[in-house]
Subunit: 229 residues, 2 copies
Amino acid sequence: MKTVPQPTSHGSPVTEDTRAALMDAAERLFAENGLEGASVREITKTARANLGAVNYHFGTKDGLILAVFSRRLKPINERRVAMLDALEAKAADRPLPLEKVLDAFLRPMIEQQGTGLEDGQAFTRLMSRVFQEPNPQVAQLVCEQFGTIVKRINTALLKAVPTLPPDEVFWRISFLFGSAHHAIDAWSRFDTNPFARIPGAPVPRALDREALLQRLIAYAAAGIRGTST
Amino acid sequence: MKTVPQPTSHGSPVTEDTRAALMDAAERLFAENGLEGASVREITKTARANLGAVNYHFGTKDGLILAVFSRRLKPINERRVAMLDALEAKAADRPLPLEKVLDAFLRPMIEQQGTGLEDGQAFTRLMSRVFQEPNPQVAQLVCEQFGTIVKRINTALLKAVPTLPPDEVFWRISFLFGSAHHAIDAWSRFDTNPFARIPGAPVPRALDREALLQRLIAYAAAGIRGTST
DNA sequence: GTTTGATTAATACAAACGTTTGAAAATTTG
DNA sequence: CAAATTTTCAAACGTTTGTATTAATCAAAC
């Protein structure tokens, strides 16, 4: 029987324990090389840990993968729910301001990147491909985590744009998800983005977090309000 | 020295040759399990070919990967260029109709799925994750293939929406790419889409090709015209 | 100071990976 | 038909993969 250790009972922040070091290394390498492309050997070497450390702390490589995703995804989604809660509480029965709803969805994901760990940046690249991830365990986790959010966004959008046909919302949310994740990915590796270097292609300006957020919100708001076809 | 055979000088369409069978199997398995997740052994078994067939016909697994992408990507992008050419020829000096520009970009990708081979559907799922692909050869191919398109779309959008600041276009194109690929992916596997089954989540309607296309165009057009912030 | 439990470390293992090889089979060419 | 070329095939190669094992090291509790 495998005894899974507690996540450091005292949590000394001075020296990062092996568990966290593994997750940090894994997050970065997963983002760079993909879930299958990053080997346990590479991860443990980067984390300056022993080869067996992954299996000891997370049971299996899949366990590490799930832990990496959970660590970032949970706080993001909790913050989203909290912001939506606050929004709906304040609005009472009046229609929600669409831009605020979009802000509640997008801001936690975008701001998550600056919590001190520079590895946070790597996670957004993971996020943008998380929906296509073949790993069934990851797919289930993502589905669970995002299920709540999708539901909340759905009702919020209906309250924000009452004229929107209910079975249209699914597609608008799909569009929103797609543009958000794609753009954040492009933004997070802006300097190495191949499209940013194509001569004759649109010359982009490096944006700060807030500017990207505002552009995303403006784009999505216009698209969701849409023109009645 | 390796003699790479010609792609079947006569191209008998009756019985599919090994080369094409390999690409079909690979396309499907790449879409299902990822580029690294689909093994040469699995591919050759699915294609009912010998294990060495991939290395004989494509040199290496990477060669097969590139061939799979090229086969679909090239005709799509050629059609896009042709449609944009026709559009600009007809418009002369007048501003291009934005919806038509978006149609020229989106339609070839969406309609490509119905060319008889049901595997065409698998490719769109490949497309949606092609931008995050860690494989450097794939990244370069994608960059080459999309480079032309991005440039063309850029100038077309500027001619369609003259009030748009030039360094905004990059981001709007990013949003467009993101929403398009994400939505097409969600659409192509609509029946197994986890989000379509979440109780309380937006109930989507299965769309036909044209309806999806029109929704995408409407959404992107509204977003790109945007509200001047 | 010894015992106890948690962690690290080095090594081993079987399975799966992409690729190579050389001979058989099939096909095309003269 | 014979010669030449292309394609298939079965077997094996050397790596690399994730995981299991067993002993050594460490920190705290008694």
